[in-house]
């Protein structure tokens, strides 16, 4: 049974296919209104989430399907000590596809290995979040017209930011990509991402702690939140959380067609004064996420029916 745990589970050809389907859904949504009629999506969210869960559920409803939802471990059998493996086997009896978020890294893989239906990883701790990357890719694709030759700035928590790792992995497969990595020393991109992706594929990158220095060179600026839930030490979180705050003043030297992205929720990394700037694409990203989740659900359910 095909599941999507990591963005690299999808080939470049499959990403192209998903982008094409999502674009078609945007162009003619009525054609997809009953595409998943009588199918059920189970959303198993063992960690707080607003947009990802709602995005999956909205995606399924717009495809004509239904949703079974579990939110928070406290109200599920997991609170009674049920294993993820047993939960996945049980839910497989009720639903046709699972979207799962869990605070522990690797939880979605465990679910996928035990479920008899497709599992989509909706975030497993600080590890992977492939559907956020699908949203990011569609946003870049629509805003920049493609991927090749882009200079992508990634700013904020590059250590625990799973969306950053997934986006780097996904973008590494396109041509002439350059990364600018902006973070405090304590939240630098982990060496395994640098070694296994950037260095392995010979991708040029620059590391800096100064956002404004290289901002004029960026085609895309991907801001991230410093996530309280990833720290064991509250003091470290408080010290680092406000390191980068994007304001209109800082954008003065940025490109006119810069694409400003953020996986949301934001705290204060991007001033609300930027929201009306045409370069702000983070709410478009939210909408694009729904379309890509629709495309992915369609693809996995079609494959499962074969």
């Amino acid at each position: 049974m095909r599941s999507i745990i990591d963005i690299l589970d999808l080939s470049v050809a499959e990403l192209d296919e998903l982008l094409a389907v999502a674009t078609d859904i945007i162009a003619q949504p009525d054609q997809y209104r009953d595409a998943c009629a009588h199918k059920k999506l189970a959303t198993l969210f063992f960690e707080p989430s607003t947009r990802t869960r709602l995005s999956f559920e909205a995606a399924m409803y717009e495809l004509g399907g239904n949703v079974l939802s579990v939110t928070g471990g406290a109200t599920s059998s997991v609170a009674k000590g049920e294993s993820i493996a047993d939960t996945a086997k049980t839910v497989s009896c009720y639903a046709d596809i699972i979207a799962m978020r869990h605070p522990k890294e690797g939880a979605a893989l465990v679910a996928a290995r035990n479920a008899s239906i497709p599992v989509i990883n909706a975030g497993d701790g600080g590890h992977c979040h492939p559907t956020q990357t699908l949203a990011d890719l569609l946003t870049i694709y629509r805003e920049k017209g493609g991927f090749d030759g882009l200079t992508i700035g990634l700013c904020g928590d590059l250590k625990f930011g799973r969306t950053v790792h997934s986006l780097i992995n996904a973008m590494s497969r396109y041509h002439n990509i350059r990364f600018i990595l902006v973070s405090p020393q304590e939240l630098k991109l982990p060496s395994y991402v640098k070694n296994d992706t950037l260095k392995k594929y010979g991708l040029p990158y620059t590391q800096t702690t100064d956002l404004q220095e290289l901002l004029p060179e960026m085609d895309v600026l991907y801001m991230t939140r410093v996530q309280r839930e990833r720290f064991f030490n509250e003091e470290d979180y408080l010290r680092l959380k406000d390191t980068y705050i994007l304001t209109p003043d800082k954008l003065r030297n940025a490109k006119q067609d810069l694409c400003i992205m953020h996986p949301l929720p934001r705290v204060n990394e991007i001033s609300v004064a930027i929201d009306d700037d045409p370069r702000a694409c983070y709410f478009k990203q939210v909408l694009n996420g729904k379309y890509m989740r629709m495309a992915l659900i369609l693809k996995l359910l079609k494959e499962a029916a074969l």
Binding site: S83, I84, A85, E105, L109, H127, Y192
Partner: protein, 138 residues
């Protein structure tokens, strides 16, 4: 120093000097109720110094564990005092329940029944990563 030759059992030879105890622990040889000899720092023409483990019983040994600790080691199977099989090793592609993932955020930290599985991700650096969270083994 003399160690009696064995009649039926296994000799793990050409172990990198200093690695025999790690191998002894990971193979769980302390739980065996048979004679086990650990010979350290034996002179070797090829290696300078080497370690040897002799197990006085024909028991199954986990070749993945030996390959992980020292892919250069050789396994000699002895029957009736004669060498009947010689095995050479390579780095195993996966290790199951040989290493423990130490990442407190990994799913293996809370789901006790899960196997701890590591995958070889860089042969040149002998680098293994947890299949669940991708944390490297150390």
């Amino acid at each position: 120093m003399n160690i009696d030759s064995i009649q039926n059992g296994i000799v793990i030879d050409h172990i990198k000097a200093g690695s025999a105890m790690e191998l002894y622990d990971l193979l769980g040889l302390d739980a065996l109720d048979v004679s086990v000899a650990i010979i350290k720092n034996v002179s070797s023409r090829k290696m300078g110094k080497k370690d040897i483990i002799k197990i006085d019983a024909d028991i199954p040994v986990d070749l993945d564990v030996i390959g992980y600790v020292d892919p250069g080691a050789t396994i000699n199977v002895i029957k009736d005092g004669l060498l009947v099989e010689k095995k050479t090793l390579s780095l195993p592609q996966t290790l199951t329940n040989v290493l423990k993932c130490k990442n407190p955020r990994c799913i293996t930290s809370c789901e006790q029944e899960l196997d701890h599985v590591f995958r070889l991700t860089d042969e040149a650096k002998k680098l293994y990563r947890c299949v669940y969270c991708e944390t490297k083994a150390n």
